[in-house]
């Protein structure tokens, strides 16, 4: 018995780890029944794996038996791997015992699709229900919605889970057709829309009746894979932007494709596209917290994000006419757009300038990255730089340090050398 749970955990954690969602925040579930756990307020990352990703939830598949054959997926039917399945009680027991020892914030449960969508979904819901009702568990539960599952089951899932998610998987319907022939956008977007409707409805009901049951209080999220298909960053960001707007998603997660398969439908990759994934996340942040629209970050003329510099700097360099921005008078929204200034330092600037005019020295102490910001600001009318630089010059100075023409030449030569060899 002992061995089997160990073995299953190995297989089913391995199979679930390519799903990147790890968030445990945004829930409002309080421990009011003197039960176990509390999921109000901010999430907690309890540990970090050696790849630097956080471990917040017990992220497992209920089973990795699957009737589908999606090329990008490690669990696909045609892949020759060990298969296993947890029982409902095993998952409940692991979740409770990990939670009691403060290893985790809760459970992230997904599954391969066995028999059919409803059959699978019903199992997932049963586990969540058992944790909530029999064990008074108030920790975080994130359930993956199985594409094609019935509305009733999704509705029930939302009563027990804090967050629901349906993975959109690939950034376009075309790629989905090629790589996941059994799936289609309709099957993914229908439950996503159903959840959005439920979320809205539940919010209305709670307004009317204080004790109306909350539906997935932490909202819904999705994930798409970057680098397994041909879409450019412009397409990816436009899609995310639409998902945020039309489906009210809390998060879109991006998973740099890790080659788990040698399927001929997939690009040949040596390493996962980590830098690109990072840039896409930065762009996503710009859309959610910095007031940028998708088309400002990438458009038809600049379809892909610059891998060398971050998307905010990249936008600033393309829009030098907006700068310099005066720190002491500009609106908060504009200050947020200055490279090297984040949300925290922008807030500090706006708060502190009511007391005294701010100088460069203040900015440095507030945590502004002057290495980037200095080309885009004035403090009380004075620019930190004595002359104007061109887009190319600023880029070079930021990347290689001040006046390091030599450095950049060396780098250029190295690149030429690499291309030649």
């Amino acid at each position: 018995m002992k061995e089997t749970v160990q073995e299953k955990l190995k297989i089913l954690a391995d199979a679930a780890k390519y799903d990147v969602s790890c968030s445990s925040s945004g829930g409002k579930r309080k421990n009011t029944n003197k039960g176990l756990g509390n999921a109000e307020g901010m999430g907690i990352c309890h540990s970090y794996t050696e790849d630097g990703r956080c471990v917040s939830l017990l992220k497992i598949l209920l089973t990795n038996f699957c009737i589908y054959d999606c090329a990008y997926c490690v669990t696909r039917k045609s892949n020759d791997i060990k298969r296993a399945a947890f029982t409902v009680d095993e998952v409940v027991d692991l979740t409770l015992n990990f939670y009691r020892r403060n290893y985790i914030e809760g459970l992230f449960l997904s599954s391969g699709i066995f028999k059919n969508a409803d059959y699978t979904m019903e199992r997932l819901v049963r586990i969540a229900k058992k944790l909530r009702t029999e064990h008074k568990f108030n920790g975080y539960i994130h359930l993956k919605t199985i594409p094609g599952a019935s509305d009733e089951l999704i509705k029930e899932a939302g009563l027990y889970a804090d967050r629901l998610s349906v993975n959109i998987e690939l950034p376009s319907e075309n790629s989905l057709k090629t790589l996941a022939p059994e799936k289609n956008y309709a099957e993914i977007l229908t439950p996503m829309a159903a959840i959005t409707t439920q979320l809205k409805q539940s919010k209305e009901e709670v307004k009317l009746f204080k004790h109306a049951p909350a539906f997935a209080p932490a909202g819904q999220s999705t994930q798409l894979i970057v680098g397994a298909s041909q879409e450019n960053d412009h397409q990816i960001l436009s899609l995310s932007s639409q998902l945020y707007q039309n489906y009210n998603l809390k998060r879109v997660y991006y998973s740099g494709y890790v080659p788990v398969s040698t399927d001929s439908r997939l690009p040949v990759l040596v390493n996962p596209p980590l830098i690109r994934e990072n840039r896409v996340y930065q762009a996503d942040w710009l859309m959610r917290f910095y007031g940028f629209s998708a088309s400002e970050i990438a458009d038809e003329k600049h379809p892909n994000l610059d891998l060398e510099i971050d998307p905010k700097l990249s936008w600033a360099l393309r829009n030098l006419q907006v700068f310099p921005i005066e720190i002491n008078t500009a609106d908060y929204e504009l200050i947020l757009r200055i490279p090297g200034i984040g949300v925290k330092s922008a807030k500090r600037i706006v708060a502190a300038r009511r007391f005294t005019p701010l100088h460069l020295d203040h900015l440095h102490k507030f945590g502004v990255v002057l290495k980037r910001a200095r080309y885009f600001i004035t403090c009380a009318g004075k620019s930190p730089e004595l002359r104007d630089y061109t887009e190319q010059a600023i880029r070079r100075r930021i990347l290689f340090g001040e006046g390091s023409v030599r450095n950049s030449l060396v780098k250029q030569q190295l690149e030429l050398f690499q291309q030649a060899s």
Binding site: Q6, L9, G37, S47, Y48, T49, E50, F355
Partner: protein, 259 residues
Amino acid sequence: MHYYTYDGTFEGLLTVIFEVYEQKAWPDKIEKQGQEQPGIFAQNKFIPTDEVKAARVWTGLKKKLSENACTDLYKTFLWEQPGFEMLIFRYVELVFASQANIEENFAADCVRQISQISRQIFREKHRMEAFVRFQKTADSLFYATISPDYNVLPLLKDHFEKRYADQRWLIYDLKRSYGLYYDLEKTDFISLEETQVNSKTGALPNNILEEKEPLYEQLWQTYFHHVNIPERKNKKLHLRHMPVRYWKYLTEKKPRLNG
């Protein structure tokens, strides 16, 4: 030159501030009694703690500051790094010298420093909320060792009370020799004469653990190693999130149990 000493409590420090204003003798140094340097040019003056005087200073501060700013002052006290007393004093001095609320005047050094300290304390508290690892004993007590950089244990009470309302738990700060104990009804600070805890690993001796405890520790280690994606290895990021000094009490960072 005026050097003050106090008994090391927050009320004691507030009493010193009261006396400073009462006697109009501005401090050049405030230190915990027993840790002070012998003064060459000044006499160390010990101020005994007086709850009434301390409360008057605190009430005065509350009138001019938001609740958050007052909490930040208490957090600076828990920070315990050299010079924190004078920093608190300079902040209080600025508060009482100004008409307007100064808590967002980040251009003033003491305001900015205290706001930075508050963030450091928050981070450390948040880390403890994350890195506490309980072991279950045979009599169903959940025990965890910590030794945080700053004295954040008092700030952890709320979080763990809410979370583990249905189990007895004890979080013990080995560095400062005191702990927080919840007995299903209330939470108290306790201090143990001697502990059976291994000072290197923070772990309890095996013979007092619940029978299945090693199994769950082993399962957790298994999970931790299998959720990693080797192709994405990123040591730098790993260390930034989980600095090595926190590893010693983490179950998942201990040598693998057989399994």
